[in-house]
Symmetry: D2
C-alpha cells in the first residue's frame, strides 16, 4: 500500500469538510431542466491512487449526469476506431470561445476546434456512429463506460436525455451547421440522439474515478491489467484535456490546479495526476465558464497539498 | 551525477543528427528584415539537467534573436513587481487566434487574452515600464536575463530592434488599440520601444537553457541556489506556457511534445521538463503557426525518448 | 399613356439583346439541386410603368423560383400583422455579412440584422406563422402573392421546397440557433417548412413586376386602386430593400443601379423606381455575392438610360 | 423662385421650434475633449433649394466641427484624383460594425469596407496625400471646401485637431493596422495628421449646405454653374452616403429619413434631396450609433412634411 494513503485520506476528508462550509457554491445549470433539480449543496470526491486504494468523501456514491465528461471517453473510443484520421474532422487547439460558440465554425468551415467543445464532441460522436444504428453506437459507448468503471450498473438517465432533445436548440444548430459543411456523415437527428444520450450517462464520483484510471497510468488500469490505449495515446488525451478540458476556463484550470481534467455541466470534473491518481469531484454549482465552482477549488486544494501539479513540485 | 546523463548525451546528439538531415525545414520569418538574413540550416540544442550537466549539440553556442521567448521572462519580472494585480491587465486563457490578432481585443475591450500573444506581452511590458524611463526598464530586463543565464555578455541586437521599430505596424496597432481602452499607462512609443528591444535580445541555446532552469526546478536555480520565484509561481508560469506558449499551435505542442514551452519567431523554443531539465532548441524555419518547425520536432523526439512528458510515462 | 413608353420599349428590347450576347453569365446556384437544373442562358425582363403599361423582353413569361424575393412580401405581410413590433425580432441594418452568416447572430443574441438575410426572413416567417398551422400560413402568403400579381395561377414548386427541406442544413442551423435565444415562437420545423415553401414560389418576371407595383406607387396598385400598405410603409420597405436587399452586395447594387431591389438565388431581382415603375429581371447565373449577374447589369443599364436612379438625374 | 419656398420656410422654422423644446437631446461626444465643451442645447438647420434660396433656423451660422462629414468631400476629391482605382483601397459596402471597428479589417486583410468608416476615410486621405507634403494635401482639401461653400473664411480648428492627435489612439491603431497590410502608402503620421485636420474643419450649417449643393444637383452647383463631378459620380456618392453614411445606424437613417446623408461626431449631418435641396443640420447630442439625435429627428420631420424621401411619395 502506498505510504501516502493515510495523508491522502485526511487531506480528502479535510477538503470535503471545507467545501461543505463554503458559502459560495456557484449556479446550478438550468438550461437542461432535469439538471436544474439537483441541489447546490451536494459535494462528493473520490481519489483512486496507483495501488487502487479508493479514498472518498461526501456524496461520492451519488450518481450525477456526467454530461461533457463523457467526451473524454467518446474521444478515446473514436481514436480507437479511426486513429489519427479523427483529426480530419476536429482540431485539437483551445478555442478561446464558450463551449457552444458557433462563430469559430463559420471561420473554419465547419471543423470544430477541439473534441471537447460541443461541436467537436458532436463530430466525434458522428464518427462513432458511422455504419451503425444509433442504438448500437450508444450501447457501445455505455458498455465502454461500464467496462472502464468495472461496473455494469451504470445507466443513461433517459429523463435528462429527453430534456436535452427537447431543448437542445443550440446543439441542433451546431450539428446542422457542421452538416452544411459536410463534416457530419450521419443524419443530424441520429448523431444528436447518440450525443444527447451519452451526455446523459449517470455516474458517481467513485465510478468516474475508476473509469479514468487508464489515463493516469499510461493507458492501462493497473489493478485489472487491462490495457485501454497505448501510453502515447493516454498522454495525448491528457494533453487535450489540459488545454481544452474546461472550455474558456481551461487556462484558469491549468494555472490553478495544474492537472489534466474535464468538466461537465452537471457539476462533475474528472482529473488525472499522471502516475499518481485518478480523481473525480462533483458539486453542481457552476462558475461563469460553466465548470463546477467547488469542484475546481477542491482540486486546486488537493493538488497543492499533495504536490501533484504536472507543472512542478 | 544523474545516471541518465550518458543516455541523454547520445539522444541529444542523435536528434541533432536527424534534424540536420531532414529536408523539411519550415520558412524563415521575413516580416522582420533582420531575421530574414538567418539561414534555415542552423540547428542547435542544449539540455541542462537537474544536476547542472549541460548537454548540447549543433549550433548551441550561436546567438539568435529570442523574440517572444523574452515574454516568459518579462512575465516573471512583472509578476515579481505587481503580483496578481497583473491579471487585471491581461488574461491567462489560450486565445484561439494568431499571435497578432486584434479581433479578440475588440471583443474583450482591450484586455489581451494572455501574456504570450503580442498584445498581452505589450501590456506586460507596460507594467514593467511604469514609473521608469524606457532605458531603465530595458536595463532591468537585460540584467535579469544576464543574472538568470549567469552570463553578463548577453546583449540586445540593436539592428533587429531598429528593424522592428520601422516595420512593426501591427504591434503599433495593437498597442494603440489597447491604449484607446486605457489598458496601457505609458506613452505608446515608450512601451513599444522597450517591447521591441527585449524581443531583440540575442542568446544562444546554452544561455537560454540556463536562464530557464528556475522554471524546471520549483523557481530556484539548483546550481547557484538562487531562488527566483516561489514554487507555486514557477508552476503557474509553466501552466501558462503550456496552454498559451505557441500561439494557436499551443494545443498541438502540448499534444505532441507534452512539455511547457515558449517559442519565438527567431526560431527558438524554451521548454521545461519539471524536476528534470531546462531545454533550448533553435532552428529558424517556422511552421504555419509561427513556431520553429524542426525545434518542435526535436523536442517531440527528445520528450518521447526520455519519457519526459508531463502527461504520463 | 406615358410619353416615355416608346422609348422604354426600345430600351428594354435593346438591353435584352445585349444581355443575350454577353459571354459572362455568372454561376447558376447549385446548393439547391432543383435550381441547378436551370440553364444559364435564360434572361427575362418586365417593366410596368405608372400607367400600367407592360413592357417585356426575353423569357419574361417563364416561371422561376423567386427564392429570397419572397422576403419582400413576407415582410409586408408581417408588418401588416404586428406593425412595428416586428422590429423587436429583427433589425433593419445592413449586415456586412454573407446571406447565411451565423456569426452576427451570436454577437447579437439571436436577433438577425435585417429581414432580408436568411435568419431575418426566418424570424419574419415565424411571426406570420404564429397562431396558425403551417398550411394556413403558407396559404395566406400564397394568396397574398396571387392577389398582388392579380394572378391566381401562381403556385409553389414542391420539388424545390422538398429539395431545400432535404439540404437546408445551414438554414436549419440558423433557425435552431435563434430558437435557442427564444427569438422563434413556433416549432423550428413548422417555421422552416413555411419558409422553404414561400421561397419556392414560382413566378414569371411579369407576375413579379405586377406584384411589386404597390412599392413603386406609395403602397397602392394604381391600376386596381387597391391600397396594400400606407405610403410611409411603402417608402420604408423600399429603404430596407436598398440597404439590405442584395446581402453583402447591397452597397454595390445601390452604387451601380441606384434603385431599391431584392434579389433571389434563383436569379430573379425585383426593383422599384419610385413613382415610375416596377421592374423584374431574371437570369439564373449569380455573382460572388449570390445576386443575378446579368440581372444587375441589365438593371444598371436600364436605370442609367432612363435616368431612374433615386440618387439624382 | 420656387413655389415651395414659403412652405419650406414655415416647415423649417416649425421644426427648429419643435427641436428646441424636446427634452431628449442625446449625449455630446466626449472622446475628443474639445468637442465635449459644446453645449447640447444648440440646434441649427439650413436648407438650400434648387433655386439657391437659403432657408435657415436656429444656430445655423455657428461653426461646428464637421468631423466625419468631411469624408464626403475627401471621397469626392480622391475620386477626382484617381477615379475608380480608389476602390482597390476601400470597398463600398455597409460594414455592419461601429465606426471604429478593427475586426472587419482583420477579416478582409486591411481593406476597409467603405470610405465613411474611420479606416476607410484614412485610406482615402492617404490617396489624397500621395506625392504631397501633408501641409499641401491639407491645403488642397481646405481650398476645396472653401470653393464648394463659396466662402474663403472656412478654417480648421487647430485645437480640435491637436486634441485628436493626442487622444486618437483608436484611429492610430486602425492606420497602423492598414499599414501592416500595405494599404497605406505614406508614413502613418503624415496620413493621420491630414486626417485629423480635415475632420477638424469648422463650418456652419449654411456653409455646409452650400458645399453639398453639387450632390443634390447632378454634380453641379446650379447657382454658380460650376461642375464639380459628373452626374453619375454625384449619384454614386449619394448612394454610398445612403448605405454607409451613418455607420451602423445607416439602415435606420434610410428607413426613417429616406435621404442620402453623412453624419459627424460633432453633431452635424449633411443630407441631400436629389433635384430638390441640400440640407445641413447640427445638434451636438448623439445617439447610440454616434449620429446627431435631434439632427436625425429633424431631418425625418423635414423629409416627411415635404415628401422628399427618395423612396417614394
Amino acid at each position: 500500500m502506498s505510504s501516502t494513503t493515510p495523508d491522502l485520506a485526511r487531506i480528502v476528508s479535510d477538503i470535503a469538510d471545507e467545501m461543505r462550509e463554503r458559502p459560495d457554491r456557484g449556479e446550478v445549470a438550468t438550461y437542461i431542466p432535469e439538471l436544474a433539480r439537483v441541489g447546490a449543496d451536494a459535494f462528493g470526491i473520490t481519489v483512486i491512487d496507483a495501488d487502487g486504494t479508493v479514498v472518498a468523501a461526501g456524496d461520492s456514491e451519488t450518481p450525477f449526469s456526467i454530461q461533457s465528461i463523457s467526451k473524454v471517453f467518446t474521444l478515446t473510443l473514436a481514436l480507437g476506431m479511426v486513429g489519427d484520421r479523427l483529426w480530419r474532422r476536429v482540431g485539437r487547439e483551445p478555442s478561446g470561445s464558450p463551449f457552444n460558440s458557433i462563430v469559430q465554425l463559420e471561420r473554419e468551415r465547419g471543423i470544430p476546434r477541439n473534441p471537447f467543445i460541443n461541436a467537436g464532441a458532436i463530430a466525434v460522436t458522428d464518427v462513432i456512429l458511422s455504419g451503425h444504428q444509433p442504438r448500437e453506437a450508444l450501447g457501445e459507448i455505455l458498455r465502454f463506460m461500464q467496462f472502464l468503471a468495472q461496473d455494469p450498473t451504470i445507466t443513461i438517465d433517459e429523463a435528462v436525455a429527453a430534456s436535452e432533445l427537447r431543448t437542445g436548440f443550440r446543439n441542433t444548430a451546431l450539428a446542422n451547421y457542421m452538416k452544411s459543411f459536410g463534416v457530419l456523415d450521419n443524419p443530424v437527428d441520429f448523431t444528436l440522439g447518440v450525443y444527447f444520450h451519452h451526455c446523459a450517462i449517470s455516474m458517481s464520483c467513485r465510478q468516474l474515478a475508476m473509469a479514468g484510471r487508464f489515463l493516469a497510468h499510461s493507458g492501462r488500469n493497473p489493478s485489472t491489467g487491462h490495457s485501454v490505449v497505448s501510453p502515447e495515446r493516454a498522454r495525448r488525451i491528457n494533453a487535450v484535456m489540459l488545454t481544452c478540458g474546461h472550455y474558456d476556463g481551461s487556462g484558469e484550470f491549468a494555472y490553478r490546479v495544474g492537472l489534466p481534467g474535464k468538466s461537465g455541466v452537471g457539476g462533475g470534473i474528472l482529473a488525472v495526476a499522471p502516475g499518481k491518481a485518478s480523481i473525480a469531484v462533483w458539486s453542481p454549482g457552476l462558475d461563469a465558464s460553466g465548470n463546477s465552482h467547488l469542484g475546481r477549488i477542491a482540486l486546486e486544494a488537493l493538488a497543492k497539498r499533495l504536490g501533484w501539479s504536472i507543472f512542478g513540485a
